[in-house]
């Protein structure tokens, strides 16, 4: 953004409306290119949902966030230890605990992933159906309005 947005200072000061407009266009472009880490963004929006819910694109954005966050990572991970002096011992201990817990963890999280996936699918189906229903109603409404207009003109 900063490379492309010129400094716009006129006689009355900075044109802030123009800057915000350009910022929003840039966000839309970057979003379309998938440049934002939507899972991190989704987490950052937890206190903003009440402000976003009236936004026309809210559901679409929310579903994008859900799609990116739905799969919990259950792969093995590198075990680290910051306390250098005891690191070898503590690392071995942590690896041992992880080996014991891995079976239960995989079982729990794979089930959780299955539930998450089903919930996402259900939400998407409901959203698609609602949108289709709304489209049909709007088309019908336009048709009725056109007929009423035509009837009004002929009388």
């Amino acid at each position: 953004m900063s490379e492309t947005t010129p400094l716009q200072i006129g006689a009355e000061g900075v044109d802030v409306d123009a800057i915000v407009r350009e910022l929003r266009e840039r966000v839309a472009e970057r979003r379309a290119r998938g440049e934002y880490d939507e899972a991190t963004v989704a987490r950052a929006e937890r206190f903003n949902l009440a402000n976003l819910k009236d936004d026309a694109q809210f559901l679409e954005r929310y579903l994008t966030c859900l799609r990116q966050a739905v799969q919990v990572d259950i792969d093995d991970f590198e075990i680290v230890e910051r306390r250098a002096r005891l690191a070898p011992l503590l690392k071995r201990l942590k690896r041992g605990i992880w080996c014991l817990l891995r079976f239960y963890t995989y079982r729990l999280w794979s089930q959780q992933n299955q539930i998450n996936g089903m919930l996402l699918a259900a939400t998407e189906i409901i959203a698609t159906r609602d949108q289709e229903r709304l489209d049909r109603i709007e088309a019908r409404l336009s048709e009725i309005e056109a007929r009423l207009d035509a009837a009004g003109k002929s009388s």
Partner: protein, 404 residues
Amino acid sequence: MNTAPHDTARRQLPRIAFVAPRLAVDGAVGGAETLLFNLAQLARDAGCDVTFLTTCARDHHTWENLLPPGETRHEGVRVIRFPVNTDRDIETFLRIQEAICTGTAVSDADEELWLANSVNSRALEEHLRTNTAAYDRIVTGPYLFGLTVAAAAVAPERTLLVPCLHDEPFARVRRIARLFRGVRGCIFNTEPERALAVRLFGEALTAPGRPAGIVGFALPPFDCDPAGAARLGLTAPYILYCGRREPLKGTPLLVDYWAAFRRITGRDVKLVLTGSGTAEVPEGMRRHLIDLGFVGESEKHDIMAGAVAFCHPSVNESLGIVLLESWLAGRPVLVHDRGVVLREQTRRARGGLWFRDYPEFQECLNLLLDQPELAAALGAGGREFTLREYAPAAVQARLLEALR
């Protein structure tokens, strides 16, 4: 503030009682109370006979009567303190408040019960009733306190309400609508606040002859030094928030956005907080969030002057006093698009940017960090706006017009 009028004008000036739930003795009160005392000082400076009526409470959670009742002087203004009623039924108050907040239907009787068990002072009401003739005007606020409703009921034809109105469930209580419609007039902080009041309570609020002016908060310019922030150890770039930390003020949102900004962009930007309350800090971010707690005014202004931007993500404000201070310190602001009052203030001042969601916040902050000259120009725009609109003489003139 050298804003005293000529003697001829002084003779026509009214005797005024300002009524507020609290009065700061150490600067630790809400914005509405600070605003009312600011207006009282301006009226006093104009030559009005001013009395500030308030309670003995200091804490807005307990409302305990910690200060002595009776007459005193505070910064040259005559102040009379009265005890808060101690027989409040908090349970009933909270039960009805919960219903109002969730949009459940509440009866007229329950609305009255809610206000009766809000913060009230029978002693203060009695003083107003027995001294009605001593005051030409009663200026009271903010709108959602039982004390304000009771004070307005004593002599509504002489009462001016300073509502500090937000778009919130309490503004839809029928008794509150009657308060707005029943008083002589209102003193608003901003145009969006007045527009909200008209939308909620009707066009009659701004009918000809009825006071409905926008007055605001008088803020004289101050000296500040960005190097002062460095002396406090703030050497890395930082964004700033000053005030109470609570969900209604949007501070949890700010902390989350800032933490996401650090993670996603990898830029070393600190978050500096001053004021009261707690903030939940995301894992691994504690050493980058600098909590200074309460700081003195001059220190606060230095910290403002050293910030990349002042960020105020609240969507429920009737005036952003800290925004004005940040502009006087020459720095831009970042506000939430849904906070109509703060956004419109920012737009009019050409003093900052606004965001709807995290990606927009990220782009705004990146822009201010990458283009310091733009940030400085926004800060200068805000300063010029504040000096023009919120200079004590300008605010005093608007206040005297409303008091006529």
